[in-house]
């Protein structure tokens, strides 16, 4: 997909561009907020990755102006400070995701893909991955026709994984989107939740659906 990267730190921009290109994206770079804004206004990008502190125009202003102009390209804001108030300010301005520095490259790549997959999606009432089916209205989960008994939290965790099936989902993404937690637990608590969920959806079946992606996170895939 086509990614617009707006970042003023040349070395950072080069390194991010290399990583995104290696992940099969076509990347264009803008070095300041005004240039980034004019390039984004022209459209043609699938995802915009925007630094928060930019010369000439702040990242938050760029997003707000794009949204006012009717440009709905998904935007991910990168920020040196991962703080509640800045995150909320960014999201309120119209950004779709917010990532605090320092972040791992894998985290960024996973989020860029998630943004692309998440856009323009019709509201769904049923999700399916292989023979795993989720009914969002009846709040039921079945695999191979057999009803699975999930706790509410496990249900939300599985829902998120199913909505992002086929993509790598990081622990941080799960923390933020399933629990709305914006800090790093010092324990392996996410892994434990995943292993409990896995024991419910995979244990009695020949084919595993919930995979661990080493060093990154998890992927639900048939």
């Amino acid at each position: 997909m086509r990614v617009l990267l707006v970042e003023d730190d040349a070395e950072m921009a080069a390194s991010l561009k290399a990583s995104l290109s290696a992940d099969d994206h076509e990347v264009e770079v803008a070095g300041d907020g005004e240039l980034g804004h004019s390039m984004a206004s022209g459209g043609g990008y699938d995802v915009i990755v925007l630094d928060r502190m930019l010369p000439k125009k702040l990242g938050v202003s760029v997003v707000r102006e794009l949204r006012d102009q009717g440009v709905s390209t998904p935007v991910l804001i990168l920020s040196a400070l991962h703080d509640e108030d800045h995150r909320i300010e960014g999201l309120n301005a119209g950004a779709n995701d917010y990532l605090g520095k320092p972040f791992s490259t894998r985290e960024l790549l996973a989020r860029v893909r998630a943004l692309w997959n998440g856009r323009d999606r019709e509201p769904q009432t049923k999700l399916a991955v292989g023979d795993l089916e989720m009914d969002l209205l009846a709040r039921t989960v079945r695999r191979g026709g057999k009803k699975l008994d999930l706790q509410p939290r496990e249900f939300r965790l599985l829902e998120y994984l199913m909505r992002h099936s086929g993509q790598t989902v990081t622990r941080k993404m799960l923390l933020e989107n399933v629990w709305d937690y914006h800090f790093d637990p010092q324990t392996n608590v996410i892994d434990v939740h995943i292993s409990r969920l896995r024991s419910k959806i995979d244990r009695d079946f020949a084919q595993s659906l919930l995979h661990t992606v080493r060093g990154s996170g998890y992927r639900l895939e048939a």
Partner: protein
């Protein structure tokens, strides 16, 4: 001592001057009162008497002419009494009376006269005195004077008046002297405080202001200043300790980081070994960055950043946190239980509140032993505040160490081997302060043997239930 501190410019001296002014005003008022009560009254009585006598003689003149008047004056002057008479021709030549000379030539009809006199009495003694009365020209020119000898009473009131003036002068002089003395005493105390401040500025943070034990305002001030210096000294020590600790905490991973990279460069190329070196280096870099992030976060919570406060459903957040950590606790053979009252609300920042409680839970899980217990209890206390206690049955912290672990970067020796920058509890304490609450440590659930466990208690102001 500072010579520039002039006594005359001190507050105490100015107060004394003001007091001297008040004394002066009081004495003048007193003088006025005494004057009117003595001299004034005397004068009024004399005037009345002299006026009546003058009028009577004037009538006698009207009835019997100058001869009758002269006769009356001679008779009356001969009587013993306080009244004095003079009858004179229109040119002032005395015809008859108590004096050989008129004290004052009247311009016309009756006018007031007040004069000192000297005369010889019937026994030949010279008498000095003051008299007051009326003098005036009668019809066709003769001059009549009727006056009352004020006698002793004039002397007495005169002495009272001069005594009062003397007292007033002494009063003012004493006020000024007292003011100077008071100012000197006060300035000595102030200079002692100033000396302490200068010593502190010069770098001696251990200098303290002298306390006399007199419980006066200077002692109060000195005690307050000393308490402030104690706090400053403590903070300086803490930040020095923190500086050492952060240097230690950052230097170790940075050294290993550098070591790994150097070794990888020195050794012959080997893809597997190089990748492993890079992986370890990345971990060390992350650990350094985590420490920085924690320091920055703590600085922002402690600093003057304005946080967006809102109504926070503490009950829901606490139950969710227990629910979140429970599987992880079970995974490491600990039990985590929550006992959270319904309807607990606080006014605060939900993200910080969540992180603070999660720090307490993670700490408790980290410092308990296998098969240990951790409990999260949240109640609304009788005083209306919300108490959130995260208690465990681990080794606990000795009471004398409890205050210290809330300082930045302090990790007890026993915890040196476990990961973490020692900022977790500091952050919780800072978040508590930000929410106008507090964090304190107490015994926990009670463990095996001597162990009492640890209870970390977060007390926050409650918000009313909607």
């Amino acid at each position: 001592m500072r010579p520039s501190l002039s006594l005359l410019r001190t507050t105490t001296f100015r107060l004394a001057l003001a007091q001297a002014g008040v004394v002066l005003v009081f004495v003048v008022a007193l003088l006025g009162y005494v004057y009117f009560a003595t001299v004034g009254q005397l004068n009024a009585d004399s005037d009345l008497l002299a006026d009546q006598e003058y009028a009577a003689l004037d009538r006698a003149y009207g009835e019997g002419g100058i001869r009758r008047l002269n006769q009356e004056v001679v008779e009356r002057a001969a009587r013993q009494g306080p009244l004095l008479y003079v009858l004179a021709e229109s040119n002032g030549t005395v015809i008859t009376g108590d004096f050989q000379q008129l004290p004052q030539m009247p311009a016309g009809a009756a006018e007031r006269v007040d004069f000192a006199f000297e005369r010889v009495d019937d026994d030949g003694n010279a008498i000095r005195g003051r008299a007051r009365g009326q003098v005036g020209r009668l019809l066709n020119g003769p001059i009549l004077l009727v006056a009352r000898d004020l006698g002793d009473s004039a002397l007495i009131s005169g002495r009272i008046t001069s005594a009062l003036w003397t007292v007033a002068l002494f009063g003012v002089a004493l006020s000024i002297a007292g003011g100077l003395f008071g100012a000197w005493l006060a300035s000595r105390r102030v200079e002692a405080l100033a000396t302490t401040a200068q010593e502190v500025m010069a770098g001696d943070i251990t200098s303290r202001a002298p306390v006399r034990g007199e419980n006066d305002e200077f002692d109060t001030l000195a005690i307050a200043i000393n308490a402030m210096l104690d706090r400053l000294q403590h903070l300086m020590q803490v930040s020095r300790t923190a500086g050492d600790a952060i240097a230690h905490d950052l230097r170790s991973p940075l050294t290993r980081f550098r070591q790994k990279l150097e070794a990888a460069l020195e050794n012959p190329p080997n893809v597997d070994a190089d990748r492993e070196a890079l992986r370890v280096a990345l971990e060390e870099a992350d650990s350094v960055l985590d420490t920085f992030a924690a320091v920055l976060k703590l600085a922002r919570v402690e600093g003057n950043v304005t946080w967006r406060f809102e109504r926070v459903n503490a009950t829901a957040i606490l139950r969710e946190l227990v629910d979140f950590y429970e599987p992880a606790a079970e995974d490491v053979q600990r039990s985590l239980k929550g006992e959270v009252e319904d309807g607990l609300y606080i006014y605060g920042e939900p993200g910080l509140f969540t992180q603070a409680v999660s720090n307490l839970i993670e700490n408790a899980l980290k410092y308990t032993y296998e098969n240990g217990r951790v409990e999260v209890r949240a109640i609304r206390r009788a005083d209306g505040r919300i108490e959130i206690a995260v208690s465990d049955d681990g080794p606990g912290i000795a009471p004398e160490d409890r205050d210290r672990v809330l300082d930045r970067f302090v990790r007890l020796e026993s915890a040196r081997s476990t990961p973490g920058a020692g900022l977790g509890l500091s952050l919780v304490a800072a978040v508590a302060r930000l929410h106008k609450g507090g964090l304190h440590l107490r015994d926990g659930l009670g463990g095996q043997g001597e162990r009492k466990g640890l209870g970390a208690v977060l007390v926050l102001p409650a918000m009313a239930n909607p």
